[in-house]
Amino acid sequence: MKMRKIKYTYMVGASLLTLFITQRAVAQDAAIKQTSPASIELLKAGSLWMNSTNGAGLVLDNLSYFSDIKFTYGIKDGDYKLNQEGEKERLFGVSSEGGLKLGKGYAWGGFAYSNEAQRGTLFNTAIIDPQRGMPYYPIDPNKSDWMKQTYDLSMKVATRPFWDKVILGAQADYMTKVGAKQIDPRSEVYYYRINVKPSAIVILGNHNIGVNFEYQNSIETSGTINSDGQVNQPVFVLRGLGNGYEATVGGLQSLGDFIYTGNKAGGALQYSYSVNNLKFLASGNYTYGVEDVISSPTKPKKEGAIVENVIEGKLVALKTGDNIHRLELSYRTENLDGIEYVQELDNTYEVQSWVVVYSSIRSNYKEQEMSFKYDFFRGADHDYNWRAGVSAQYKKNDDIYYMPESTEMIKNLFLGVNGKYNFSLCKNCNILIGANLVYKNNLDGEYNYGGAEPDSYIITDFMTPDFKYMKSSYTKIGGDISYFTKISKTGKAGMFIKAAVDYYKPSDRDDNRIQSSLSLGFTF
C-alpha cells in the first residue's frame, strides 16, 4: 500500500511538473507557433545537442517552445520472439515532454508511465528486464504472465552563456519499475535507477567544446515465493550462456531474495563546429560500471558481479535551410566481465556468514555496434512536407563462458529505409502517413554449450531457441498514419490520433510478430 501511495504521488508530481513547465511557456514565449507531431520531429532533427549527453548544449540548439502529451495503447502478438517475451503483450502508456526557453537558458522535461501485461512468458523468475545484460538471475520452466509498470522522469537544463563563453547544464533521469510474475514461483520486483550528468560548454566563436560527467546508481530487488506452499518449484540460477545451478523455491533452503546494486561513472567530450547552415558535432563517451548481485540479504551470499566498460563515438552532421539533411555515424563497444565467487560458510556459531575465498572473471560478453543514418526533411519552415531516410547498422555479439567453455557469437546487419508524407487537409489539419522497411541479415552465428547438462531444458528449450531467434534474418514492414488538428481557435492547442503497425516476418521460419499501437495526443 505504501509503495502504491509513493507511485501515485510520484506520478501526479511528475505530471504537474511537466504541465507547469509547459504552461509557463505560453506566457513567456509569445512568438511561439502551434506545434504538431511533425513540427516536433523537425525541431529535434534540426538540433545537434538535444540527443547528446551534454544538457548544456540545449542553448546552442536554439530550440523553441514545444510540448505534448500522448496516451498510447499497444499490443504485440505472434510467436516470433524471445522466450522471455510474452506471446501477447498489452501496453498502456502515457508520456509527456516539453521544452521552453528560460530567459537565455533552456529547460526540457519529460515523463513517461507505462503499464504492461505480458502473457505467456517463459524462463524468467525474478528480474524485471532479462534483456538488460545481467547474466545472474533465476529462471523456471513454468509459463507465466508478467505485469509491469514503468515510471520515467527526465530533465535537461542549460544556463544562459556566462560572459558569452561558458554554459553550464545538467541532465537527470529517474526511473522506477515494478513487476510481478503471476505463476509459482512468483516474484515481486522493484527496480530503481537515477542517472545524473552535470555538464559545461566553452564557446570559442564557431567552435564549441563540451564536457560532461556521468554518475548512475541502480538497485533491483526481487523476492520469490510460492502461492501454493505445498508444492516446491525448481528453478535454475543462470550464470551465463546456459551455465548455472539448480535451486528450489519453497520449503527449507528456499532460494533467497536477489538484490542487484549497481554504480556507474563516466564522462564524455564533445566538439561542435558550425559555419553558415552547416553544423557538426563529434562526441565520445566512456562509462565504467559495476553491479553486484547478492542473495539472501540476511545472510548475504554473492551470486556474482558484472564489470561493464562502454566506449561510444558519434558524429552528427546537419545542414539546415529550406530543407534539413541529417547524417549520423556512430560506433559503440561494450565489454562486460562476469565475476563469480567461491564462498564457504563460516559455520562458527557466532558468525555464520559466507566468506569469499576466491573470485575470478568467469565469463565475458562483447558487443560492437556501428551505425549509419541519413534523414532528409523537405521543407524546414515549421512542419515538413515529407521526409525520407536510410539506415544501416552492424552489430556483433561475442560471448564466452570460460570454464567449462561455452561460446555464443552472432553478427547481424540491419538495413532500413523510411519515409513520411505530410498531407495538408485543411488550414488547421493534416495527415501524416509513414512507411518503413527494415531487413535484418544474419551474417554469422554460433552457439556452443560445453557445460554439464547439454540435454537439460535450459539448453534445449531456452538457450537454443533464443539463439535461433537472434540468429534469424527477418523483414520488418511498418506503417503509421496520424491525423492532427487544431482544437482551439485562439490558442495553439492541437490534437492528434496516430495508428502504427510493425510486422516482422523471418526469412527461414513460419512464425511472425505484429506490433500495433493507437495513440491519442495533444500538443499545446
Binding site: 527449507l252 561513472a265 555464520q352 576466491y358
Partner: protein
Amino acid sequence: MKNIIKIVFASIILVLGLAACQQFEDVATIDKVTPLESTVSLSLDLGNAPTPSQFNVKFTNYADRFELSKVISPNGSIVVDGLIPGIYTVTVSAEMAAEGFTYNYSGSLVNQKIVTDNSSLSINVQASKSGALVFKEVFYCGSRTPTGGSYFRDQFYEIYNNSENVVNVRGLAIALLNPNTATANLPVWPGDDAANFVYATAIWQVPDDKDYPVNPGESIIIAQMADDHKKSNLNPSSPVNLLSAEFETYVNTTSIISDNPAINMYMAFWPTKMPQWLTTVFGGVFVIYFPTEVINANNYVTPIGSATKCYKIPIVDVIDALELIGNPNQINLKRMPTTLDAGAATVGGTYLTKSVARKVKETKNGRVILYDTNNSTNDFEVMDVPTIRRYGAVAPSWNTWK
C-alpha cells in the same frame, strides 16, 4: 533555502559516489579464471582387508556441476589438472571380492577448497565388508490426495538382506539423525571424539522379544503406519498398501491411526514424541545399527548452542546409512559423515509420490544383489511408483499376515 538544497543534493551525490568507489575497488584486482592442478595421494588404513590394485578418484564441484575422475595406484600419487577453482568433494573408492566377501574401499574429503594451483591432497582410505542389511527402498516424500492435499502417513523403509547369510534383525535399530533437513548450519557437537559418532533425534528398535531371522533375498518393511493407505478415509491416491509390513512405528490409536497387524517397533529414543513417526518429507538422514548396549534415553547430548536432545551412535556400529536431501542442489549441504555415505539420494521434492530405491548390481543363483558402495548418489535411483519388495524380494516366513 537554495543553499540547503544544494548541500543536501551534494551530500547525496558524495555518499553514492563513495559507495561506487568501494564497489569499483572491490573488483579492480579480479582476474580471469585459470584451471588449477592438484596432487592426490592416498593414506591406506585397510586393517586386514586386501589391497586392491587401483582406486577411483572423483572430484565433484557441486556449485559448477563439474566432475572429473582419475585412477590412482595404492601407493602412488596423481596430478589432476583442469580443475575449476571451487569447493570440492573428493572421493576415493574401490571394490574387491576376496575370501568370499565383497570389500568396499572408501575415503573422502568434503568441502575441500581448491582455489590455488598445485595444491596437495591426502585422502585416508578405509575398507569395510559389504553390509548384510541395506536400505533397499525408502518412500519419504509423501503423496498427494485426490483433492491435492498432502499425505505423509504412507512413508516406509524397506531393509534387505543383501548377503548370502541369514541375519537376525532382533533389536535392530533405525535412527533419524540430526539435523532433520539439509542445511549449511551444521550442529557443533561437544567432546574431542565427537567425529566418531552420529547423533539421532529418534530411534526405533525391532522388539528384543524373540528372533526375527531374515534370509538372503528377504526384506522387512518398517512402516510409519502399516495400513492400507488406499482406503477411502486415508488417501485413495496413495501408491501403497502397507498391511503386509513387518513392523510399524505405532504410537497411539487415533481416528485415523489404528494398531495394525504389523509388529509394533519399540520407541527407544524420541524426546519430542508426536502422534506418528513422521520423518521429514524434505529428506532425513537414516542409519540402521545393532546397539551394543541398552539405549538409555536419559543419556542424551545436545549440540552447542541448542537444546535439541540427541543420542550418540558410534559410527563403527552402523550397518548401513542413507542420506536423503530435498533436491540435487543440496548435495553440498551434507550431514552424514562421508565414511558412512559419500553421496545422497533425492526424489527432488515433496509429496511427489516417488521413492528412492537401491539399484540392482547382479543376480546370483536367483538372488538379487543390490549396489552398496556407501555412496547413495550412485547406489540409488528414483522410482516413480513406490513399491514394497521390488525385484522379487520376499517377506520373512514369520510374517504370517503378509
